[in-house]
């Protein structure tokens, strides 16, 4: 296994929910160091499911998950994975549960074992790097959709993950917040990025390669048009 070079390696993953309907059929995925991949596919194709499998939130019926060279079997393995791989959920409300923004952003660092002063410091610097320090003491559930999204990204970035998984981060965002999000993610020094999005603005700006989840399997997407626009954006 090429565990040394690949960040994430999925092999022959099969999965179906308890309703019995097949979601993933023998899926293979390899993410190399520095890869920036867009994952596409129709609604209900199983993209979110795949992300949850990578982080061990649900377990595949068969197949293996290898992250940073570690083949993950039990909860302990995945606990380690969750420190290195940050997942931004589709719905920010799923992620933000604390009474204040600062507590929410410090939640991850605290769980990583930082002292509360360090955690708050880390949270504050994350907030300021995203330009949302002014939201610090606000109540997350009363934020606007765009603000919630930025804070939910901050909660993940504050843990300083090596790999970022973003699940449809721009749904419901306006042009302005979308551009801001693109800037934030592009400036974050991560070793790998896996993005689910139907929004070509963000996919083109952040990724270099596209995969499609179709018929319960993953295929490579190759469209000439895309590569052209990609070049133009990444040059900016």
């Amino acid at each position: 296994m090429d565990g040394n070079t690949s960040l994430i390696h999925l092999e022959n993953i099969n999965f179906s929910y308890s309703s019995g309907q097949l979601v993933l059929d023998d899926v293979n995925l390899t993410m190399e160091e520095g890869a920036r991949i867009a994952l596409k596919g129709g609604n209900g194709a199983g993209k979110t499911t795949l992300f949850h499998i990578i982080l061990g939130l649900i377990r595949p019926l068969s197949g293996s998950v290898t992250v940073m060279g570690r083949t993950c079997v039990g909860e302990e393995d995945f606990k380690q994975v969750r420190r290195q791989v940050g997942l931004v959920f589709q719905d920010p409300d799923d992620q933000l549960f604390c009474p204040t923004v600062i507590e929410d952003v410090a939640f991850g660092p605290l769980n990583m074992g930082l002292k509360s002063s360090e955690a708050i410091e880390r949270a504050d610097s994350t907030l300021s790097s995203l330009g949302i320090s002014h939201l610090r003491d606000r109540v997350p559930y009363r934020l606007s959709g765009g603000e919630k999204r930025l804070v939910s990204v901050a909660t993940v970035l504050s843990m300083k993950p090596d790999v970022l998984l973003l699940d449809e981060p721009t749904v419901g965002l306006d042009q302005w917040v979308t551009e801001r999000l693109i800037r934030v993610i592009r400036d974050y020094p991560c070793r790998g990025l896996l993005l689910i999005s139907h929004d070509s603005r963000i996919a083109d700006a952040l990724t270099t390669r596209s995969l499609v989840l179709k018929g319960h399997k993953i295929e490579e997407e190759c469209l000439a048009v895309n590569s052209q626009s990609r070049v133009s954006v990444s040059g900016s």
């Binding site: 982080l55 606990k79 409300d93 799923d94 939640f107 769980n111 955690a119 708050i120 993940v156 843990m159």
Partner: protein, 253 residues
């Protein structure tokens, strides 16, 4: 929802430590609920009113809250004076109005309003989250605090979802009637609400796992007792103990 309507403000009570306020509210309420003599009930009523006035909540909002609560008390007034046996004051048609009944209804009115006013002053002046925080600091069972906390957090989300669902059935021409279709529609609405709640609960837990959660909640906020908190505790404590003591000794009768 007209939630937490009174929680923002800058009065003495708004600034007081919620831990102190919770403890005071509990002890005071329990003691007032046990008062049996009318003079003490009066005293409690007056004290609660004074306490509430220090919270500087707009008078009209308070009246509105109290009015709602007193609908129940009014229902008692419509029954108790007639249904309590005792010395008959006068006859109202076929029913006898007893003086004991009137006293009983009056004493319930006093106690109910005294407790509610105190709790408005002490509890409603804090946000639900700071109450939850205080409960954690007061060493209430942590699972209970977490449940309380998450319930409050996601109440609004589910309420939004519910509102959207209701709007969705409205625009498809639904209007509530007393028939099976209506009840079934409401049942589906409720069922969907439970499904959404269940699924969101799962996702929230997953999101917490992703951020390294392993069962401990770290308390970031720590409360500090100030002079004003100690004054509040002492005043409330003295009043509560005085009421309890006089009740215990049976004075005044």
């Amino acid at each position: 929802m007209t939630c937490e309507a009174f929680s923002s403000g800058s009065s003495y009570l708004h600034r007081a430590d919620p831990r102190v306020k919770i403890l005071c509210a509990i002890f005071y309420s329990v003691v007032v609920a046990c008062l049996s003599g009318m003079p003490l009930q009066y005293a409690a009523f007056i004290f609660s009113a004074i306490l509430l006035s220090t919270a500087r909540i707009p008078f009209r909002m308070i009246l509105r809250r109290l009015a709602v609560v007193n609908v129940f008390v009014l229902a008692l007034w419509l029954v108790i004076p007639f249904s309590t046996p005792g010395h008959v004051l006068f006859h109202a048609g076929p029913l006898d109005v007893s003086s004991e009944g009137i006293c009983a209804a009056f004493s319930i009115t006093l106690k109910c309003n005294a407790i509610i006013m105190a709790n408005l002053a002490l509890l409603s002046t804090s946000s639900m989250f700071s109450l939850a925080h205080s409960l954690a600091h007061l060493k209430v069972h942590s699972k209970l605090v977490q449940l309380f906390f998450f319930t409050w957090r996601y109440l609004h989300v589910l309420e939004d979802e519910h509102r959207r669902m209701v709007q969705a059935i409205r625009i498809r021409g639904f209007s509530p009637r007393t028939d099976m279709l209506t009840y079934r529609t409401y049942a589906y609405l409720v069922g969907l609400l439970f499904v959404r709640g269940y699924e969101r609960g799962e996702r929230v837990y997953k999101a917490m796992l992703c951020r390294g959660f392993d069962g401990t909640f770290w308390l970031l906020h720590h409360f500090h007792l100030h002079g004003r908190d100690i004054i509040l505790a002492v005043v409330m404590g003295l009043v509560t103990v005085a009421l309890a003591g006089m009740e215990w000794m049976g004075i005044p009768h």
